[in-house]
């Protein structure tokens, strides 16, 4: 995947003009980039930094977008996509682990192949994902705010810019969505 920053900017522009195919082209680019960056972080090539998905999303933005040519609408779209992609990366990962866990206790076997099964299950990400889906049925906007804030790492102000709402509204949405989700996960 060797796209230059200008390509992503152009894809975002095409999307802005109503070209749905552009999204389909964009998502793999963003996905690939986020995965790659996560790996570099873990190899310790960036010492002194903590691994944070949100930091990755921001860095992906800096790497993928042609900063001179980008318009604020593109920027908002980009974060909307990245945040959603990051949510899917994390949820898929958690789901794969949960699935593997089910049979894990039986897999010390002398098969001709070493069956390796990953890691204990963590329900948190899956539960959060489910809770977000439930919340979406009630209030879609809250979910977009959570995605941008939690998975995309945007500040209140940036989220306001990306959603076209006022910072006051975003803050209120965020606070109530957090409480709603926390309550759902505690049940």
């Amino acid at each position: 995947m060797s796209l230059v920053p200008g390509d992503v900017t152009r894809l975002l522009e095409r999307w802005g003009e109503g070209d749905r195919d552009a999204v389909a082209e964009l998502i793999p680019v963003v996905y690939q980039e986020l995965h790659e960056m996560a790996r570099r972080y873990m190899r310790g090539e960036r010492p002194g930094h903590t691994l944070q998905c949100t930091a990755l999303v921001h860095e992906a933005y800096l790497r993928l977008l042609d900063l001179d040519g980008v318009r604020w609408q593109n920027r908002a779209q980009f974060f909307a996509i990245s945040a959603r992609v990051m949510r899917h990366i994390l949820v898929d990962h958690a789901r794969a682990r949960a699935a593997d866990k089910r049979g894990a206790q039986f897999e010390m076997v002398a098969l001709d192949e070493a069956l390796t099964v990953p890691v204990p299950e963590t329900v948190d990400m899956l539960a959060l994902d489910r809770a977000l889906d439930k919340l979406a049925a009630i209030d879609e906007r809250k979910v977009r705010v959570v995605e941008l804030r939690y998975f995309g790492g945007l500040s209140i102000e940036e989220t306001a810019e990306a959603t076209g709402c006022s910072p006051m509204t975003v803050k209120r949405d965020w606070t109530i969505a957090k409480a709603w989700l926390f309550r759902d996960l505690s049940r």
């Binding site: 996560a38 944070q52 593997d100 049979g103 039986f106 990953p118 204990p120 109530i176 926390f182 505690s186």
Partner: protein, 761 residues
Amino acid sequence: MDLSDAALWQRVQDVFAETIELPPEARPTYLAAACAGNAELLAEVESLVAAHVRGAGFIEPVPERIGPYRLLDEIAHGGMGAVYRASRDRGEFQQHVAIKILSIAASPSLHRRFVDEQQILATLSHPNVARLLDGGVTRAGVPYIVMELIDGVPIDRFCRELAMAERLRLFRSVCAAVHYAHQHLVVHRDLKPANILVTADGTPKLLDFGVAKMLGADQHGVTIVPAMTPEYASPEQRQGGPVSTAADIYSLGVVLHELLTGRRPDRPLRRGTLPSPDLDAIVAKATRQEPADRYPSAEALAADLERFLSNQPVEARRGAAWYVLSKFAVRHRAAVTAAAVVAAVLAAAVALTVRQSRLAQRRFEDVRQLASSVVFDIHDAVARLPGSTPVRKLIVSDVLTHLDRLSRDAGSDPDLRLELGAAYVRLGDVQGLQSQPNLGDADGAIASYHKARLLLGGVVSRSDRATLAFAEASRHLAMVLMFARRRQEAVRFSADDVAVLEALVARTASDEHRRALVGAYNTLSDADGDSSHRLKAVAIAEELLAKTPADGSRQRDVALMHKNLASPLVQRWAGDRGLPHLRRAEELDAARVAANPANREAQLDLSFDHSQNGMYHFNRENFGEALREFQTALEIRLRLAESDSTDMRLRDRLVYAHTQVGRTLTAMDRRVDALAAFEQAARLSESLLAAEPRHPQYRSNMAQTQARIGYAHDALGRKQPACAAWRTALRGYDDLDRDHALRDDEREWAGELRTKLASCS
């Protein structure tokens, strides 16, 4: 309640937003008025407000800025949160500080602890104590404190360059700082060289009052706290007893010994290890078993050091004789000491009853958080990423330290023991359970499972969960022991696992417990080689499946049992006995795939069935049949890899599938095709090694594949490439041997390669 009712949802949001703006005490009144007559609305807002309070830190990102500070990078993290280096722009220059943030979902007790700590630190202002600069709550409601950022080295390192007298003078400043804190009713509780930094100009600075607790407000105050770093912790801390300023005196004694000799004192203390009998006596007095026998204050310790430096007789050497001769002189002091002891004991008793429940709750949450979320999540998240091993090792050693510390204080609290036991099991899994990504630390894993069994053993019959946890600890211990070729022990613990689960099933007859028993029987069969346990397992698994024939996970259980039963029976000597098992496994896995073609796990399982079928036929020299099966397995895996090229395990399994195809083609004397298959395997191995160059399995695969490539070239009469491949293979095996990672069969390969290479020029 029907939240899709848009009007109600709007009203809930409005009332919620109003309520959280009010101080807590005003909320009930407001809520009652705002929700008058609408119980549904009231219940909804009340529970949301409760969640808002408890979940302040939930999914809250670490901010880039806090107040005027910009967060730069993380410098440490612990049970309570993370410490960041941060900077503040002040006109001309930048001020650097350390900010400690509660980085995990905050519980009320953690909040309280954080606020406690902040209050403690705020009362301290001393040139040798790292200063608290600021504190507060982020916009998201997460508390933080801002501390002086100390640029220095640990005192033990700093002392290496110093003469004896200079070390003692430096240490006196440390005593003075500790004494100052004690006067402000603060016990440090975790004094150790790492917490005493010395700056370039030689100023010692005490760090990390993160574990300090405010002593009771009255002068008899004694707090009960968990022991911290065990090497420096006083006996009473290690035993979870009441802790007073005397605990710090003890730790100071240990640190002093280390600064003077480069190592910590032996237990019990051996005399004559220090450069002078006076210093011997001083360290001995500071580290007495009984708190009341130690120096009464850090200042008194410093004063004795001063006496030593000025060649005066030290207080610490005034022994029994001195007391006998000067009874009158000591009468007063003895009375004071006795009174102090009584007061301390009384205060301890009071403190115990008052604080125990709160303290237990705190520890409990410590463990819970550790076991159920943050640390293991981080580990799990990075485990699949290539090259993450160093990070994971760091995480594991952190967790181990923390758990060991907590379990010393677990006492007999059954809930705490259960949580700790469960946490040790997870830790053991991460350290060395082969059926998942692990750090290959079998010894560490074995130790952790033993600790888990010790903790859980006492509570095993208290709840089903405890029984299951004990069983799991025993089973995983058996698995790792088997892998370490300690079969006898493995059988013992595996039998434990079966025994407790059989008793549980006899009592509850629950399906879930029977399913656990299936796993236990299966492992016992692996351990003692007696397949009758596995037949019991398969009978139970089939019975469970008969209840819900379409249940995919039960189908998988049964299929796995049959695969295990078939595994030894694919050998030629077993005749046809393996066939029914192979067929049943394939039938079930095929049904799972048919039910949901997108189920990757089922697809992979089915590919294992074909692979096993292939082995069955290969061993019976039905090569045409074997090739078809191996190719089917290969095709399934190639399809899976197309849709996810990042799955390392799948890539590893592809290496195996190509190899089996190649072996079969070799047996059919289709050498050119075989070579192509081996070269595919080599390419994939290379990509795996690129990600993780030291992975023993990948290195082993590569060596074996190169050896096979050599044989293929050799058979085709190409001596030169054959020798080159053999050399690469042998280098790989020698390399594994150096790391003590060579298996017996691989040693044979290596020997054979050496013979072959003798014929190369």
